[in-house]
């Protein structure tokens, strides 16, 4: 009993991603990654390809001590800053309306007969 535990392709993908994230903005070379994880280049390549396609990892070829080295970096996903004022939108019922894109374009409900818009207007009087 004991010994090595086999891990599936999904877990390996997560592990590779974690390792690259750990390296942060310094990045990690592909060869260092294979050594750290104990996997071959052949096993690693398709996983990296997938992570790059998913935009979780980026790849750059860099010159280190005269040698070309493939460096891997995590892709930072910043939650973009909201610059649009939503306060002014919340009070109009159209903002959260689930048929806004159909409203008035030949559908039964349009801005002229929308009960939600009518009650908002009454509430503003």
């Amino acid at each position: 009993m004991g010994g090595f535990v086999e891990i599936g392709p999904v877990q390996l993908e997560e592990l590779v991603h974690e390792k690259i994230k750990e390296a942060g903005s310094d990045g990690i070379s592909q060869s260092d990654l294979t050594t750290a994880l104990g996997v071959s280049n052949k096993e690693l390549s398709p996983i990296l390809k997938k992570l790059i396609l998913k935009r979780l990892v980026s790849k750059k070829s860099m010159k280190v001590e005269g040698k070309n080295v493939i460096m891997l970096f995590p892709v930072a996903h910043d939650t973009s800053r909201i610059i649009v004022n939503v306060k002014s939108m919340y009070d109009v019922p159209c903002f959260m309306c689930n048929i806004l894109n159909k409203c008035g374009n030949g559908s039964q409900i349009g801005p002229h007969n929308c009960p939600k818009l009518a009650s908002w207007l009454v509430s503003q009087l």
Partner: protein, 174 residues
């Protein structure tokens, strides 16, 4: 409020709670996931996941990238939440709101209204005439309704939103 929270709130309000699990997976994973992967994580049928993704995509909350699998020749769809485009989503929505308010303003300007003093229901001239200027609900006599105040409210809101759209569009570009 953060982009992720706003995206979730928009999704719930516009599409209901049932789209939330799929959206939350995409928000949690940050990167891209295929419909198969999402179905596996949620332990639901892939068809249901696809349907939800298309609904979310129709409302601009998620987007996909399509690539062909070299081995099988099938298309693979990689989905991601549109957190990085939340300002565009909101600006587009604001523009749509202005358009609807302008349509309502046109309707208010082109019609005369009669109101029931008892239940507050409002009728355009043709409807009032058809009902002999009596409220079809309670029978009370309808009275002429001065719509200037309503027009004022709509005009003020349109102005406010249009000014914001101009400023926010400039801020987004710079």
């Amino acid at each position: 409020m953060e982009a992720e929270e706003l995206l979730k709130e928009l999704a719930i309000s516009m599409l209901g709670d049932e789209v939330l699990p799929v959206l939350e997976i995409l928000l949690k994973k940050k990167g891209e996931l295929t419909d198969d992967e999402i179905a596996r994580i949620l332990n639901v049928k892939v068809n249901n996941v696809r349907r939800t993704l298309y609904i979310l995509s129709d409302h601009g909350l998620v987007r996909y990238k399509r690539t062909r699998d070299r081995e099988t020749g099938w298309y693979l769809y990689y989905w991601r939440a549109n957190t990085d485009q939340v300002n565009d989503i909101l600006l587009n929505r604001k523009r749509e709101m202005v358009q609807k308010l302008k349509m309502r303003l046109e309707f208010e300007s082109n019609n005369t209204f009669y109101i029931c003093p008892d239940d507050g229901s409002r009728y355009i001239f043709d409807e009032a005439l058809e009902n002999e200027f009596k409220c079809p609900r309670c029978g009370a006599s309808l009275v002429y309704y001065e719509g200037d105040k309503v027009k004022e409210i709509i005009e003020r809101k349109i102005k406010e939103l249009e000014e914001e759209i101009n400023n926010e569009t400039k801020a987004k570009v710079s």
